[in-house]
Amino acid sequence: MAAVSQLQRQFIDYTTSLYNEGYLDDQFTQLQQLQDESNPDFVVEVVSLFFEDSEKLLNNLATALQQKSVDYNQVDSHVHQFKGSSSSIGAKQVTNVCIHFRNFCEAKNLDGCLRCLQQLRHEYILVRTKLEALFRLEQQILQAGGSVPVME
């Protein structure tokens, strides 16, 4: 029982830090609230979908930016999608980078775009790692027989 409460506290601390450090925002809380007995794995499902989609988008972006003549419209639409999906799960930093990215797209600034892609990839991996860690913690709590604390 002590282990569970420690895990729970750890979970809360970790989640809070994710909010405080700006990796996640309220939208993630929304997702968590949408999860209930009928959809016990909703958050994980959505986030997994996000991961999948993001990797695809990152690849597409890398390819698009390697072209001899870069189709900025295409790049922009990829980034737009990325922005949409990241904001939907509340991956705030990713969303922020997307906003910058779009500015560079608009300016047709290849260097800026490449830099942003790098940053985007970095932020994505970061948030993925964090979220995966969070899910692991959640699994641990559940395995230990506890319930995942609800964040306000």
Partner: protein, 879 residues
């Protein structure tokens, strides 16, 4: 010899006496022609074609007008002076001549006598006449002195000749000589007389100055003509009836007879003539010269502007007898001047506009930047602050000793305060930008009042009494945006607490008559609920604080305003609170007013319309509806439940007993009058436990941004909606279409819809959306704006076209092949809600322009989605 000499000398002297000066003087006068009046007139008629003169008048003028006469008199004086000199000389000479003549006549007589005597002698005896010598001698002494020398010589000669005196020959000779002398003298006299006559004649000729005057006038005239030859001027003289007597006009378009003797009005017709005449008359009357610019608009010479100068002419007696008039045409100059003035004016206006614009731009930029910064800052601060508060709350659930709990409660209430401030700022920008949306939920006014008071009591350290009085007629439940109302109340209360150092703060809640029926209708239109009635509830928040000076009342509700600079320093705060309150109240269709008296306190009053739901609510729902903090705050479940519905003294009692602190009890007992069934007092010094729980309440209750506000709704809604929709409209279950290309978004939205108990079809782009609409009717479409294949804007346009025309022609034009359907009834307009990632207003405008009804900003939240369904799905039952 001697005689001749004497004679010569005489002549010389005489001729030297003759006024050579006169000749010289006469030359000056240039007396060539006999000066006659006629001549003068002749000369004046030389005044050529341009000038037309009434000579008679001119003469009169020169005679009668002061100016003319002074000029003349000057000339005359000059002339007289010259003449006077000549006359004096002439007179002198005349006198001399007369004397001479007299002398000569005497001499002649003598000589004649002598001759007679000589004849006698010749005839009779001869006797010496030595006495005669003496007599002659005497006679000569009569001539002017200058000749006396000569006569003396004569005498001496005669004395010399005395030796021959006795000879007849000598006497004869002498007589002859004398006779000659006499003759010459007579001759001289004749000549002198002639000269005198001539001189007199000349004098007569010069008897008038007219000749000279005319000369001068002619010269002046020539000069004037030379100068005025081409000048665009009109010069004239008008008599006291303003009839022209003289006019000079370089470009005459009228004959003399047309002008002389007539007035302006008689000559000309059109604009300006009257004005000119009036001006002349004015000058005439006042006797003061003046200048004026007059624009004439006459048939004769069109539109012309003249600068006229009019001066009065006075008679010798000093009365005005007419005016001199001088006009110069300045039409072009005036035009230029007006153009310049206009230009200058335009430039000035331009400049003013520019500065204004610059200022506006500057202000707008500044404001925008400031707002943006504020919003960003607030938002940035809010996230970590939420963290702090959350952790503190979590901490409070752990095992803590009393001191720690107390410290934690302070931390929580401070955190809440900061959060409140930030929310204020964010709210304010929201209301200002019109983003603020109101919710309509059921709430219990008594509960709200109680909570607000509790919260205020918990976070304050003053010995104040907080009271709440809710009249019986206030419904148990009303519908409104409880969060905003709570926000207003909290703001007003905290404001009151802030400025009150002793005494009490009281909330009075009561129902009033509808203050403005029209507003009510408007309000009802917004949220049509046929089975509901509207009550107007007035809320007074009364304090016994420092009060507000009258002059500060007007600016009280302005942004960032406080009654005074020192007030701001002393009491702190953003100064936004009241501005937000006012905005919110007005947004809800109510009114916020204030009355205050310095040192006695202030009363803030707001009136809000509230819907009253049908009073048939089950108890369990009510329980669910209560805030979490409410349950916590209530010490005794039964007590509170009861109190909330009945509001009796037991509620008070329970509240007090729960506090249990001595001094508080005393204070409240002193205020027995307020211990009415519907009132409750919350003393400030509350127990630590109470404090803590209140902060909890405060946090969840006031931070409306946080999703935890919805738990009750989320948990309860589905059940209720389920039943209601199935009962009410089982067959017309709303069909919602989501058009969204992104899998993650789709998944989230789907899940949210499920939470809201709604089924939803999903398509991935605009074309698919068209096909879906083609296939079946939807009650609501949620449309992503940016999508591949066809974006949301175009899809919406095409759907609207289909709804309007009943065919898919335009879709076909866009490359989407759809079969037209035969419609049984006209298509209903489907609400289409845009889902846009850009919260910017321009994208909102774009959405509206393309036929969308509203928009939801991404990421979509449950709250937004719920609001949207409430607004656009008629069958969607709100709780």
């Amino acid at each position: 010899m001697e005689d001749e000499n004497a004679e010569d000398m005489e002549v010389e002297i005489l001729s030297s006496m003759w006024p050579e000066d006169i000749d010289a003087a006469g030359k000056k006068f240039n007396v060539e022609k006999p000066g006659v009046d006629q001549d003068l007139l002749e000369d004046l008629t030389f005044s050529e074609e341009p000038s037309i003169v009434d000579f008679k008048r001119l003469l009169e003028l020169t005679n009668y007008s002061e100016k003319g006469s002074s000029q003349l008199s000057y000339l005359v004086k000059n002339w007289e002076l010259k003449q006077e000199k000549a006359v004096i000389l002439l007179r002198e000479e005349l006198e001399n001549l007369r004397k001479q003549q007299h002398g000569f006549e005497l001499k002649k007589l003598e000589i004649l006598e002598e001759h007679m005597f000589e004849d006698y002698e010749y005839g009779g005896d001869k006797r010496p006449i030595s006495i005669l010598d003496h007599e002659v001698y005497e006679i000569f002494q009569d001539v002017p002195k200058r000749r006396s020398d000569v006569i003396v010589q004569d005498e001496s000669l005669e004395i010399e000749d005395e030796y021959d005196i006795n000879t007849v020959k000598y006497w004869k000779q002498r007589a002859l000589h004398l006779e000659n002398l006499l003759n010459t003298s007579v001759q001289r006299e004749q000549i002198l007389l002639g000269k005198l006559e001539e001189s007199i004649e000349k004098l007569e000729k010069q008897s008038s100055p007219v000749e000279e005057l005319s000369q001068i006038l002619k010269r002046a005239d020539n000069f004037l003509h030379f100068v005025l030859q081409n000048a665009p001027v009109v010069i004239g003289h008008q008599d006291k009836d303003l009839r022209y007597r003289f006019i000079y006009n370089h470009f005459p378009s009228l004959g003399e007879e047309d002008i002389i003797g007539k007035t302006d009005v008689e000559i000309l017709k059109g604009g300006g003539v009257k004005e000119s005449q009036d001006f002349k008359r004015e000058v005439l009357e006042k006797g003061i010269p003046g200048k004026r610019e007059i624009t004439f608009e006459t048939e004769l010479f069109g539109a012309k502007t003249f600068l006229i100068y009019v001066e009065p002419v006075f008679s010798k007696a000093g009365e005005t007898i007419g005016v001199n008039y001088m006009g110069m045409e300045i039409t072009d100059q005036v035009k230029q001047r007006e153009k310049m003035a206009k230009l200058r004016e335009e430039i000035a206006v331009q400049k003013a506009r520019e500065t204004e614009l610059n200022k506006t731009i500057h202000i707008t930029e500044e404001t925008m930047r400031a707002k943006q910064m504020l919003a960003t800052m607030s938002h940035e601060i809010r996230s970590p602050l939420s963290g702090i508060i959350s952790v503190a709350e979590i901490l409070s659930t752990t095992m803590l000793d009393k001191d720690q709990k107390q410290l934690l409660s302070v931390m929580l209430s401070s955190g809440d305060l900061v959060l409140q401030l930030i929310n204020d700022i964010l709210d304010f920008s929201k209301v200002e930008s019109g983003v603020m949306k109101l919710e309509a939920t059921k709430f219990r006014p008594r509960e709200v009042i109680k909570h607000v008071l509790q919260t205020a009591a918990a976070s304050l350290k003053k010995m104040l009494i907080l009271e709440g009085h809710v009249q019986d007629d206030v419904p148990v439940e009303v519908i409104g945006d409880v969060l905003r109302i709570r926000q207003i109340l909290t703001n007003l209360i905290s404001n009151a607490v802030k400025f009150t150092h002793e005494g009490k703060i009281k909330i009075n809640l009561y129902v009033i008559a509808d203050p403005c029926p029209e507003d009510q209708k408007k309000h009802e239109k917004n949220v049509p609920r046929s089975h509901e009635t509207t009550v107007w509830i007035q809320c007074d928040v009364q304090d016994t604080g420092i009060g507000i000076p009258e002059n500060a009342l007007s600016s009280l509700f302005k942004n960032y305003m406080q009654a005074g600079a020192d007030t701001a320093r002393k009491y702190g705060g953003t100064g936004l609170g009241l501005a937000i309150c006012k905005q919110l109240v007005e947004l809800m269709g109510g009114r916020l007013t204030v009355s205050s008296k310095v040192n006695y306190g202030s009363t803030f009053t707001f009136v809000l319309p509230h819907k009253v739901p049908q009073a048939c609510e089950s108890l369990d729902e009510t329980d669910e509806y209560q805030d979490v903090g409410d349950d916590d705050a209530s010490m005794d479940e039964d007590d509170v439940n009861c109190g909330f519905f009945q509001f009796n003294t037991r509620t008070l009692g329970s509240l007090f007993s729960s506090n249990g602190s001595g001094p508080t009890h005393e204070v409240t007992r002193n205020e027995v009058e307020f211990d009415k069934p519907d009132g409750f007092s919350v003393p400030v010094e509350t127990s630590s436990k109470f404090n803590l729980e209140n902060s909890n309440t405060n946090h969840t209750g006031l931070d409306k941004e946080r999703p935890t506000h919805d738990p009750c709704v989320q948990k309860n809604r589905p059940l209720k909606t389920n039943t209601s929709t199935r009962v009410d409209s089982g067959t017309t279950r709303p069909r919602i279409l989501l058009v969204e290309d992104h899998v993650v978004n789709v998944m989230v939205a789907k899940r949210m819809m499920k939470q809201l108990n709604q089924d939803m079809d999903v398509v991935n782009n605009g074309v698919e959306a068209l096909r879906a609409v083609h296939r079946c009717d939807y009650s609501l479409i949620l449309m992503d704006v940016c999508m591949p294949v066809m974006d949301g804007l175009q899809a919406t346009r095409l759907i609207r076209s289909y709804e309007k025309n009943g065919n898919w022609d335009e879709a076909r034009l866009a490359g989407v092949d759809l079969q037209d359907q035969i419609l049984k009834e006209p298509r209903k307009r489907v609400p289409i809600i845009a889902m846009t990632a850009n919260a910017m207003s321009e994208s909102a405008e774009e959405c509206f322009a393309n036929g969308m009804d509203s928009f939801i900003t991404k990421p979509v939240t449950l709250q937004n989605l719920k609001q949207c369904l409430q607004q656009y799905l008629p069958s969607y039952e709100t709780l």
